[in-house]
């Protein structure tokens, strides 16, 4: 594949980087990334991956755009209230970059559809807002050995970690069990500063691009915690747990479970 003149201009600031070059940009153009959620994190992740030229971006979300989303969900806008978030995101990303094909899925991710949805993608990004989904995505990625870039935000704090199944830790090595429903407040209950979704989403997009390029270090065996009020980034080491229920030596979880059971969603 040769670059068109438009592509040479669009990606010139990538191509001149020693770590990217024409070869790296072609890897980006051929990459397929699946994003869970078209909300606070999915919007900036998808936005930067689209700008970078990631050829195929899959996105799943069952929600429609609401006014309360627009304080942080930057792929949507006031004219798209009531529109499915994945349709809104597709329109935004494809308008930014016609090299990108956005595959939007209007559904909830579940144990019944996740394996089929992510199996043809290179990398998965979790931008979900709840624990059942977070554990479901982790377990599915471990089972399919898909790299997973997981992000979370609440109030003024964000977290990012990169899970490379077989090589490093997984989400269950970090937090063995889901916290009981109600213990950790949601953004609806506790609020979130909109701009920190951009910080965390951009960190996730950067992790994805480094994975595609095979350059630099990623947050393997590491949890990055961002405290916006204190302007502090902290790296916490997370060793792979050989007793982990899903990625350990003798895993007890060998098939996907009903993660919502006993977990009351608001």
């Amino acid at each position: 594949m040769e670059f068109t003149d438009d592509q040479l201009q669009r990606y010139s600031r990538h191509i001149i980087l020693p770590e990217v070059g024409g070869k790296g940009q072609k890897k980006i153009l051929n990459a397929k990334v699946f994003i869970i959620g078209a909300g606070g994190l999915g919007c900036p992740v998808g936005y930067y991956l689209a700008a970078a030229g990631v050829g195929t971006i899959g996105m799943i979300d069952n929600d429609t755009v609401e006014l309360s989303n627009l304080q942080r969900q930057i792929a949507h806008n006031t004219k798209r209230l009531g529109v499915h978030k994945v349709d809104s995101a597709k329109e935004t990303f494809e308008a930014l970059n016609p090299d990108v094909n956005v595959v939007g899925i209007k559904d909830r991710i579940s144990k019944d559809n996740i394996l089929d949805l992510i199996k043809d993608y290179d990398i998965v990004v979790d931008g979900s807002d709840n624990f059942p989904t977070r554990y479901l995505v982790n377990d599915a990625c471990v089972m399919l050995k898909k790299p997973l870039v997981s992000g979370a935000i609440l109030k003024f704090e964000g977290q990012v970690t990169t899970i490379l199944p077989g090589e490093g830790h997984c989400y269950r090595c970090l937090f063995e069990e889901m916290p009981p429903a109600g213990l950790v407040p949601s953004c609806q209950e506790a609020g979130v500063l909109g701009a920190i979704t951009g910080v965390v989403g951009a960190l996730q997009a950067t992790e994805v691009l480094k994975l595609i390029l095979g350059k630099g270090d990623v947050l393997k065996n590491t949890l990055l915690i961002y405290d916006a009020l204190k302007v502090n980034f902290r790296r916490v080491k997370v060793p792979k747990n050989n007793d982990c229920a899903v990625c350990g030596l003798n895993p007890s979880i060998t098939e996907l479970q009903d993660y919502d059971a006993g977990y009351c969603r608001i």
């Binding site: 670059f3 040479l8 201009q9 010139s12 600031r13 191509i15 001149i16 020693p18 070059g21 024409g22 070869k23």
Partner: protein
């Protein structure tokens, strides 16, 4: 002086920065380590910036020559992938 064997030539006359370097970098990616690339250009600034950028990327500048009133050639040897 010993003649330099040229493995690939590109003509980027009419291009300005940063596309002069974008085209040059893509061309050097296409040759093997140890092979040489000759770049023909007419943008004066690039006659200075391309050699610098190529050296920053680890390649060897063999020659920079003003060949007439408007044009330069730069000869680079690829030193690494």
């Amino acid at each position: 002086m010993e003649d330099i064997k040229i493995d690939k030539r590109i003509n980027i006359k009419g291009l300005i920065c940063p596309y002069t370097f974008v085209k040059s970098k893509l061309a050097i990616e296409d040759i093997e380590v140890g092979e040489t690339l000759e770049i023909l250009l007419d943008y004066e600034e690039a006659s200075r910036s391309i050699p610098k950028s190529m050296e920053d990327h680890g390649h060897k500048i063999l020659k920079v020559e003003k060949i007439n009133d408007t044009d330069w050639t730069i000869t680079v040897r690829k030193e690494k992938e």
